[in-house]
Structure formats: C-alpha cells, structure tokens
Amino acid sequence: MTKGGNSTKIFSWVFIMKNQPRVCIFSSCLVDLLFPNVGKSMVEVLERLGCQTFLPDKQVCCGQPTYNSGYAKGSLKTFKNEIDALLSIDADYIVGPTGSCVFMIKEYKDILKDDPVYGPRAEKVANKIYEFTQFIYRVLGIIDCGAELDATVTVHRSCHMTRLLGERTAPYVLLDHVKDLKRVPLHNVQLCCGFGGTFSAKQPELSTAMVADKAKNIMDTKADILVGMETSCLMNIAGYMNRHGEHIKVMHIAEVLNHNVDPRRIKYIKDTDEAVVPANGEGVF
C-alpha cells in the first residue's frame, strides 16, 4: 500500500462528524426474505461505528429482476415505491449490503430523468446511497471495524459492485484489518459466478457451467470461508456447492466485520499511517 497519492474523485473520505450520521438502511429483498443475519450484522456494525439507523417499512426491492430482464415499463412502479420508501426518512445517507442493488438504485436518476416528480427525487437518492463497505471506508473513514476471525478466507468479488459501482478495494482493505484473518487469492476472481439475476433461472445451462467453475476455483483455494459482498452471488455459489457436497462456510462481509468485535480496536484511517486506496485500484483491465 502506498502512502499519499489519493486520487479518488468519487468520495471524499475526510468526513467530520458534527453529529451522529443518520443512516437509512436499504435492506434488499434477499436479506428480508432469506438472510436476516446479514441485515442484523450490517445494522450492528453501523451503530457501533456511530450511526443512527432507520429502517423504512415500505421498501421492497430495487427492481433489478424485472428491469434487467427487459421489463422497463413494468419496473417503474417498483422504482418509485423504493424512492418513496428510502426518502420517507430524513437521513444523511442510505446504506445497503449489496453493491448491485445500490447501483440499480443509483441508476433510477437516468431512467427517470424525464419524470418531473421522480427525476429529482431519484437524483436525491442517488447522491446519498452507498454500499456497506464503501460507506464504512470512504464516508466514515474507518479502516478497522474491530472484528476478529481466525480463519483462512477467500473473497468472491461482485461484478456490479466492482465494475458498475466502481468499488473494488474497500472490502479488501476492511477484511485485511480483521484480526487473525488470512486472505488467500481466488483464481480468476474477475469472472462472474453465473448469478446474473434472472439469468440464473432463464439460462440454467450457462449459469450452472459458470458457477461450477467458480466453485472449483473456490475449493482449490482450500479456504475455510468464502466471503462475499453480495447475498445473491453467495446464494448462487453456496447453492451449487451444497448440492454437490462441497464443504465450506459462507459469510457475507457484514457478518465478518461483526464477528467477535472488540470496540477498542476500531480505528479511523487518519489515525493510521495508511493512505486511502482509490476505489478503482490500478484501473487497468
């Protein structure tokens, strides 16, 4: 890690907390239906880091399943409901445990740009929504969440978070500061796991072949735990591995950052001699 040369233009990490930040939780439908512990962990981590959280009741889903399948018109009501729900709380930030859905919500402003009412509202949402690790690292300026996990992990990098949201380093920095955690590289980490939303169900031949490759690469790392930033990818990879009897533990990064926490270990980036790593890493692909 090099010192200085912070070239990130997207986020200003120096954030002076005049007040406790008010954070609206975007839970995502998969957390609501299937992964309660991811939501719990996210909330506990954020509160421990000084955030006041709120969970708007009327939120449902970002609308990717239908929009990405080509049903643009049929998704508009979903978008508008989500905007209304997320703006129902006067929060400083909106934070969610999934880069993919967060990016979809950021896209509302382009899709609804001609809508005189929802265009500006979508813009407002886009300006304050962050993915969980991005928020911790780049907005709160935290480098160590105080967690401990004595295990060897490998990380599945999510495509939408890295390529569309443009955040490819924050999760790695945070994981590398988890006490006793050893991270091993995943071969061909850049390849999609084969989830792709409805792609996984509409194109089972392609999707299964892709996840089979991913599972093999994960098993080859001999890691104890697979960590991911996206419940959907984890559901896909784990779903295949469980069906095929592959032994591994799967954790969302929020669960890792909430594991065996000693609050005294929590550290701001500015209190270390480390420089902020740009979101886009080396930027050559």
Binding site: I16, M17, K18, N19, I25, D32, L34, P36, V38, K40, E44, E47, L49, G50, L55, D57, K58, Q59, V60, G63, T66, S69, G70, Y71, G74, C159, H160, R163, Q190, L191, C192, G194, S200, A201, K202, Q203, P204, E205, L206, A209, M210, M235, N236, A238, G239, Y240, M241, N242, R243, G245, H247, K249, V250, P263, R264, I266, Y268, E282, V284, F285
Partner: protein, 503 residues
C-alpha cells in the same frame, strides 16, 4: 443473412457448445493467456483510462460527422484515381465485387482476413464465378476454408475451436507430412500459399481504419498476408464497414495502439500499414484500387441508443473477458459476431426475430464494458435490447414472461411483499428432500432443493442444479429483529471523534 452461422435453435446450440470439452478448455486457456498479456501491455502504456477516453472521443466524433468524413475520404480516393462504391446492403456489396472480378477477368483471388467480407457473404459469391480460384490467406481463415469453409468463432482468433491435431490432419490432405507443431504447420502454409500469392491477380482486404484526409487505408496484421495481398495483384478491393473511418493518421495511430494492446497484448501489430493506389513509378501495388463502403444495417444504430456499438474497433477483448463466451465459445452465439459485441450488433444487423436470444446469453457482469478500449457500454446496450424485445416488441409469450410480469407487480407493492415475507416460510415447507448440507451456515433454517415437475421451467432452471435457503419465519426475519433490537453502543474511538467534532 450472412452473419448467421447456424440454423439450430439457440438452446440446442448452447447445449452442443457446452458438450464440446476441447473447445471449452481451449477458450478458457486462451482467455487466461490473453488476460495476462493484455493487462501487462496496457499497464506498460500507462494512463490506460485516459487513453480510452481519447479513443472513445475519436470514435464518437467520427460517428457524429460520419457522412462528412466519408465524403472527404471518397473525394481523396477518387482524386488519386481510385474508385469508391457505397453499398447499402450485403447484396449490393457482394454483387458489386463479383461484377468487378468478372470485368477484370480475375482468375486467382486472394483475400486477407476481414470480418465484413464474411458478413457480406463474399466468399460464396466469388466461388460461384466459373473458373475463379479463391484463397483465404490469413492462417486461421485458411484453416477454416480447408475445413469445408467452417465458420469463424472469434473475430480475432477465428479457429479458437480447433486444435493442432485437427489442423495437422487437415493439412495432410494438402500434402503436409510434418508433425503437429504449430510452427511447422504455419511454415507449411507459408510455402503452400506463397505459390498461390505469386499468381494472384485480384486482392481483397478489409480495413481497420480509413484515413479521411489522405484517402489511405490503415491495416493491422501480424502475418504479412494483407500486405502481400496488396502487393502482387493488380486489382485491389478494400471492403470496409462504413464506420471504420478516422480524421487523419494521427487518430488512426492512437487506435492502432489501443487495438493491438487490447486484441493480442502487443504494443502494435507486426505490420501496421497505410496504403492506397500505386503511385507513378512504383513497381507493384494496386494499379486499380476500389473501396466498397458497406452499410448493411449499421445505419439502423445511428441516432439511437445503440449508436455506441459503431465505436467498435473489432479488438475482440470483450469476448476474451466474457464468462459466457468462456463456456460456449463462438459457435453458441450463431453469429459471426459472437460475445458481447455480437449480442449487441447481431440483433441490429440481423434482426430481433433471428437473434432475440442473444441479449439474454449474458449475466450482465460488465467485464466487457470494463475492458472495451473505446468505452462501449456493452452490458448496458445488451439490457437495452432486452427492453426493446419485451416492452416494444413483446417477443416473449412464455410462462417466464408471465412470471416476471407478476414479479414486477409483487415488487412494487409493500403490501404484497409484506404478505410474501409472512407466507414464504410456510409456503415452502414441501420443497425439501431432506438431504445433508455441506455448506455452513446458510441452510441451518432449512433449504429448498426440489420442486414438483409441474412447477414452471423458470423455477426448475434454478432448483435443478442449486439449493436455496428456506425463507425465514416472519418472527425471525430482519425487519422483525430490527423493530425489537436495542441499538449497539458506539465504539470509544467513534465517540471521541464525534465529541471532538462537536466542540
């Protein structure tokens, strides 16, 4: 239409391709090798993203003023004694070249690799002229030709689906008695084709970039076949897609560098040539210089959200990073333009009816968009095609269509979603065969690993190969927990920070 490479239905092609183990291993190996070379060559250049900005700007500028640049280019070619023909579709293009070959009494036609000539079905048209010999001179295209005009499966590496043993066997029919070493096979082709080159009287090349301000053609190759094609025959025909134009050699030079690094991880291709009609005093090169500028459906993208696909410089990087291409190779797509580029371009050139499945052969992972040297938002355009197909053309009448429309209704209603959160747990009780779990702790609350046959295909698509955790009970879900939880105390460092800031 000639961009189509198969009459088989999409699903059949996918399954065929997936069963081809050699091909899949070859593609994976090629992708991995190219990843290393490409990334290294881009890093070596430095400022890669700023170079992409420049390349994108060049391409977008040219598209914006396309008719003006074509006019300038055509004026310059004509002034130097060349001929320009504008072909609105593939028939006009190949018929024109056929007429020309007949008028010139061509006997031995030699071609260098060009995707647009494949697109306009030129080989078949020229072979129909009695007494004409036609030879593809690019090593890969020659291999395809000798295998009964097999279809290309990659725009830069057309024979990615063939191995050295298959090629050895093919060459043995031509008199090759060497081993399966690619070096020896290539050297055999050098000698074999050189005899043909020496009697070639009609040469056909593609065009990487046409130079508007001097009427020259810029070609990038590694083998040297294009340059020999432009040296020996007295007549040369250049076939170019109408968008392959740049203002001057300065912009061509930028794109040549971007192309080589993106396509093959080289700084420049071995031969990068700027060429035109033979000048007075020169002793070889084309006396007769013809440029055929082809639309063939490209103009359908102009002025639409799909216009950026015309920025493409055919480097093939998008297919070299594509996880779907990795599984099915080029054949699965059924188009001479496979991969992400093909998913966007094929429906435009060949129509939605024929290529409606292609935009769905994509997980929208955006690796293509990230690697594209001219910054085409490929995954975005793929999704735009889906929207055209579903919202404008209503091309899906299956159960899947119905289900996704219902999902649309379900996700816009907090009430329906609330009911789903309540009902999902009891509603999924039956879908469990009760096998052991190997992955922790995702299935501690149960799993769905089976659905009855009668359940829609879409659900089987997932459940037949993958488990799903069983939805949690309403009283154990995240929202229920949140309502009842006590906020966690802020950490000491945080309190100190907030306190400081408060002062």
């Amino acid at each position: 239409m000639s961009i189509s490479t198969s009459d088989k239905p999409y699903k059949e092609r996918i399954i065929d391709a997936e069963s081809d183990k050699f091909m899949r291993a070859a593609v994976a190996k090629a992708q991995d090798a190219q990843f290393i070379k490409r990334t290294a060559s881009r890093r070596e250049l430095g400022n890669w993203n700023e170079w992409r900005d420049l390349a994108e700007q060049i391409r977008q500028h040219v598209l914006k003023y396309l008719p003006d640049y074509l006019e300038e280019f055509a004026d310059n070619v004509e002034q130097q004694g060349g001929h320009v023909f504008f072909a609105k579709d593939e028939n006009e293009a190949h018929n024109f070249i056929k007429e020309l070959a007949i008028a010139k009494k061509a006997k031995n036609i030699v071609k260098s690799k060009s995707m647009v000539t494949t697109e306009i079905n030129l080989d078949k048209t020229l072979k129909s002229i009695p007494g004409v010999n036609l030879l593809e001179s690019d090593l890969a295209e020659f291999i395809l030709q000798e295998d009964n005009w097999d279809e290309p499966t990659h725009i830069v590496f057309p024979t990615l689906h063939k191995n050295r043993d298959q090629i050895q066997e093919e060459f043995q029919k031509l008199g090759y008695d060497g081993d399966n070493d690619p070096q020896h096979e290539a050297r055999f082709v050098r000698g074999y084709l050189r005899r043909f080159f020496m009697k070639a009287d009609f040469g056909i090349t593609g065009c990487n970039f046409a130079i508007a301000n001097n009427g020259m053609i810029n070609l990038d190759t590694n083998e040297g076949n294009a340059d020999i094609t432009m040296a020996i025959p007295k007549t040369q025909v250049v076939v170019m897609g109408m968008e392959r134009i740049v203002p001057s050699m300065k912009e061509a030079e930028v794109l040549d560098n971007m192309l080589a690094r993106s396509a093959v991880g080289q700084k420049l291709t071995t031969y990068c040539t700027f060429t035109g009609k033979k000048k007075d005093g020169e002793l070889d090169g084309p006396d007769d210089f013809w440029v055929v500028i082809v639309d063939d459906g490209r103009s359908k993208a102009l002025g639409t959200e799909f216009e950026p696909i015309l920025q493409c410089i055919r480097c093939g990087a998008c297919m070299n990073v594509c996880p779907v291409y990795r599984q099915v190779g080029g054949k699965g797509y059924g188009s001479i333009y496979p991969g992400p580029l093909g998913e966007v371009l094929s429906p435009i050139l060949g129509g939605y009816e024929h290529f409606k499945d292609l935009p769905y052969a994509c997980s929208l992972c955006a690796a293509c968009t990230e690697t594209c040297p001219v910054k085409i938002p490929l995954q975005h355009l793929i999704r735009e095609h889906r929207i055209v197909e579903m919202d404008d053309k209503h091309l899906d009448h299956s159960m899947t269509n119905l289900i996704l429309k219902m999902v649309g209704v379900g996700t816009d209603s907090p009430f329906l979603f609330g009911s789903a959160m309540k009902m999902a747990h009891p509603g999924t009780k039956l879908f469990n065969e009760g096998g052991p779990n190997s992955v922790e702790p995702m299935y501690d609350g149960g799993k769905i690993d089976y659905v009855p046959k009668a359940v829609p295909k879409l659900i089987h698509g997932w459940i037949d190969t993958r488990d799903v955790p069983r939805p949690v009970k309403a009283k154990e879900n995240f929202r229920h927990w949140y309502k009842h939880h006590q906020p966690v105390d802020a950490a000491p460092a945080v309190k100190k920070e907030e306190g400081q800031a408060d002062e």
